[in-house]
């Protein structure tokens, strides 16, 4: 059975195969959308579950009126700054922990203890310190993204092939140079994997933070639309931020492939 299907798949031209796979990948989403369209107004009242057709119309309106852009920009800015900070701090911390025992001892317990805390639980506290707005959102994104980045960098730096370090040393590399010429390049693939894991986390953390309290951003639009019972707008904003997150991950993956030609 499986042999037969493999052989028949081989006979199909590659572009057709890719197109087929693409369609197949999107089937669940299509089914979900069709069910949603059907359920809206029958199983569930359309007021609380607006049909996809209405949501799409609403998205169009948000885009045409330009209302969504400044909020989207604010959200992306917060994600960018929070993620950027977590990469800078996380890579240094992760590699530092792997190379220096005191750093490891100092942060190991702290990280283990703070790991299971949902970072959005800190929003009320962050608001107390930083007020409602960008600073709080950035802090939450930063904290939520820090761990996957630290852990990946730490693991990678712990497991740098000893022979590569030796090879560099025998050719005269030492100290800081060893870091730059061997440890960093050897850990880059895993650091980039950590960033890949952090991107969706950044979106989740940001929208959650903005939902709890904010003055601007996509989370703010979702919250205010929900509060006044404008569910089509609420859904439209959820779809917009999901799509943006999806393309952010895809774009990042393409970029990563380009950078890591040697893996």
């Amino acid at each position: 059975m499986s042999n037969v299907s493999v052989r028949s798949v081989d006979a199909v031209p590659a572009p057709l195969l890719r197109a087929g796979k693409f369609l197949f990948d999107w089937i669940p989403l299509v089914i979900l959308t069709v069910l949603w369209e059907y359920a809206s107004g029958t199983a569930v009242p359309a007021e609380i579950l607006p049909p996809p057709t209405r949501v799409v119309g609403e998205i169009q309106e948000l885009i045409v009126s330009g209302e969504v852009y400044s909020h989207l920009f604010t959200s992306l800015f917060r994600i960018g700054v929070g993620l950027g900070l977590s990469i800078a701090v996380g890579v240094l911390l992760g590699i530092g922990m792997a190379r220096l025992d005191p750093v490891e001892d100092f942060f190991e317990v702290l990280l283990a203890l703070t790991y299971p805390i949902p970072k959005t639980a800190l929003v009320p506290l962050a608001i107390l310190w930083l007020g409602v707005g960008t600073e709080t959102a950035v802090l939450i994104v930063f904290l939520a993204c820090l761990l996957p980045i630290v852990l990946n960098a730490y693991n990678a730096a712990e497991n740098v092939d000893k022979n590569l370090v030796w090879a560099a040393k025998m050719m005269g590399t030492d100290g800081r140079q060893l870091f730059r010429k061997v440890v960093i390049p050897a850990t880059i693939p895993e650091i980039l994997t950590g960033v890949r894991q952090a991107i969706p986390i950044a979106f989740i953390a940001l929208v959650s933070a903005e939902l709890i309290a904010s003055d601007k951003g996509i989370g703010y639009l979702i919250l205010t639309a929900g509060q006044v019972g404008n569910y089509p707008t609420m859904f439209a904003n959820i779809v917009i931020i999901s799509a943006v997150a999806f393309f952010a991950v895809r774009g990042y993956e393409i970029l990563r492939e380009r950078v890591l030609v040697w893996t």
């Binding site: 022979n163 590569l164 030796w166 090879a167 040393k169 025998m170 005269g172 040697w262 893996t263």
Partner: protein, 265 residues
């Protein structure tokens, strides 16, 4: 001095290496003394786990001895140095560097200009029959090619002592033989001391002036056999000669005693 002596004299005395990972102490090398003349080709054979790699890495300066000493041309070694070059069993190429960039690494560290680096590296890339692969990454190469890149990388920065850890172990017979012959040529041309670890007795005898057999774990020197072959002959003439066969059998028997201790009287 009237007699011509080459640099690269390695003198190992009363060497001991104990691995201590906190929980367990493993004596890998015990009471080993061995002298390798400058320009000599010395092979080390011994059963698996007897400490051959450990010995090589001690000479390379990657590991610190527990007691005893290793001197190169009369000076105790102090960590890794560019006077010694290792060819690793698993190649240890930098995966993020192309073939050319791997081979120029050592020259980069020694401060050569870019043009000098490239022209020097190209010589060894050509010597190792890697022309056309300068811009490939290690992942794109076969095992035999990777090992040739490893050899080119080490030869390029011109260490006077080559330390080779079962470098041809993973290669098929024809490639192995061709690299063996290339190595003999290089050694003859470049006046290097070679310390060559292998588990292949024929390879050891074919290549070396001296073969040291090590005892099984914990490893120490069992015996040293001098090989006296006329290297101007062809491979076929050498390996079919009585001298070669007898030496090979002696070494093989001696090694056999270590790998099969239970049949000893």
């Amino acid at each position: 001095m009237t007699e011509r002596t080459l640099d690269g004299h390695v003198s190992i005395s009363n060497l001991e290496k104990v691995y201590d990972d906190g929980a367990e102490r493993t004596t890998a090398i015990k009471d080993l003394s061995f002298d390798i003349e400058g320009g000599e080709f010395a092979s080390i054979v011994g059963p698996s786990g007897c400490g051959k790699s450990t010995l090589l890495y001690l000479v390379a300066g990657f590991l610190d001895e527990t007691s005893g000493s290793i001197e190169v041309d009369g000076d105790p070694i102090d960590g890794p140095g560019t006077d010694r070059g290792v060819v690793f069993q698993d190649y240890a190429l930098f995966p993020w560097r192309t073939v050319m960039e791997n081979v120029t690494y050592g020259l980069e560290e020694q401060g050569y200009t870019k043009e000098e680096r490239r022209s020097r590296a190209q010589k060894y890339i050509d010597m190792m029959d890697l022309s056309g692969f300068e811009d490939n990454y290690p992942k794109e190469l076969s095992g035999g090619m990777k090992q040739r890149v490893g050899l080119a990388r080490t030869l390029a920065y011109d260490p006077k002592i080559l330390l080779m850890d079962e470098p041809f172990g993973a290669l098929d017979q024809p490639l192995r033989e061709s690299l063996q012959d290339q190595l003999i040529d290089i050694w003859g041309d470049l006046d290097k001391t070679v310390v060559f670890v292998t588990h292949d007795v024929e390879e050891a005898v074919y290549l070396s002036d001296t073969v040291m057999v090590m005892t099984r774990h914990p490893g120490t020197k069992k015996n040293v056999t001098k090989v006296d072959l006329d290297r101007s002959q062809t491979r076929e003439a050498i390996i079919t000669s009585n001298e070669f066969t007898e030496t090979k059998n002696d070494v093989w028997k001696s090694l056999r005693e270590e790998t099969q201790p239970e049949v000893q009287p």
